[in-house]
Point group: C2
Chain length 257, copies 2
Amino acid sequence: MEKKERPLILVTNDDSYHAKGIQSLVLAMSTLGEVVVVAPDKPQSGMGHAVTIHHPIRVHKIELPYADRAYACSGTPVDCVKMALYTLLDRKPDIVVSGINHGSNSSINVIYSGTMSAAVEGAVEGIPSVGFSLLDYDADADFNASMKVAIEIVGKILNDDHFPEHVCLNVNIPKGKEIAGIKVCRQAHGMWIEQFDKRVDPFQKDYYWMTGEFIIKDKGEDTDQHALDNNFVSVVPVQFDLTAHHAISHLQNWDLS
Amino acid sequence: MEKKERPLILVTNDDSYHAKGIQSLVLAMSTLGEVVVVAPDKPQSGMGHAVTIHHPIRVHKIELPYADRAYACSGTPVDCVKMALYTLLDRKPDIVVSGINHGSNSSINVIYSGTMSAAVEGAVEGIPSVGFSLLDYDADADFNASMKVAIEIVGKILNDDHFPEHVCLNVNIPKGKEIAGIKVCRQAHGMWIEQFDKRVDPFQKDYYWMTGEFIIKDKGEDTDQHALDNNFVSVVPVQFDLTAHHAISHLQNWDLS
């Protein structure tokens, strides 16, 4: 087999290009291929699969250590991927890599996560994609172990000629140096119990801050949460076909007009 | 069986409470139960499953015809559902109903859609939920046929003691009066081919508008797109477990550390 050209790696995130997480990821990816960064110019956590429809989008070139090229984008993480694929890149990237997120995207967090939505968008486009998240919200978190994990997993994807089509990976990395290993998992069933912290502004108007507590409703030993609780890196394959196939036959028994 | 109390119906959308679509839905739902509206105070199309983390959220009471109570919320559609469940409602609603969206949410659009993300959030909370969308972007679209469909489907859900847990429905309604019927379907595989319309502002800086063309890559006769193309209402059960279960065994063959 012919030696392939150097793989083209598109890097994005949701914490913005200022974040230590993406800068660590760029350094890690620069050992594997040509790195182009298109990342938000401000934090976009919790943006889910949002796209910018009613506003224009701005992009400008920036300098980022270890990146071959880098751009800051005013849009969401999904906008960044679309902008890269349809405007900024000359060829289709071999992989879309998102992160490294400051904080967990395990379990239900996958649907709120801008980091993971960027990876899902890569999968929609038919490009192997992966999002990385470290279970540490600290702006100055230690990404050394995460960088090794990212190099291993992106290497596996790039060398896998049969990587499942229209799938991306949700990789979460436990905090601390003693990682027990890497486990392929399913998404645990969990949810946020929200609290709205009600306050009064200086003009006597109410406002709320959304805070919450994450709870797991799933004791499965094959879940991402179980892996992380036991100090394993979790790898969940993620798809964008949201059809609840198991529910179709039930609904077909309804006597619909 | 005892007669149940009047069902509590939470109504939201992503086009804001000003939209004809939600006002039509409120009228339709008022025939079935007590209606509380918590809807965005401005358009939130394309917001996907975004939540508001870095900003405070404002809510104020409004008057809306046929609603028992109504609130405008500064947040995203998902914020509206969370705010309703955790702050504004005294009891758990019997159903979360989102829409009627001005425009299609079939196929891949489900993941970009604020309308559908609100319904998914209801399902995460264990509440039967449904999103309705009419294939007509006109602000003054004719919602008469859609209202009948909404009454039929919400009635079915409310009377179904075995409605699948943690599932919501994505209901799309073709434009025009001659509806051929209602079909239970799976999500068609489709995607947007984007175009970025590059312009220069009065200050000589570039900006982009994202536009695109939707393409279907799936000829399946069991898809929502096929149903809609044949003038049927499409009903897709939607889940929030994004795990690509079929891909797990492939990944388990990787020799991971």
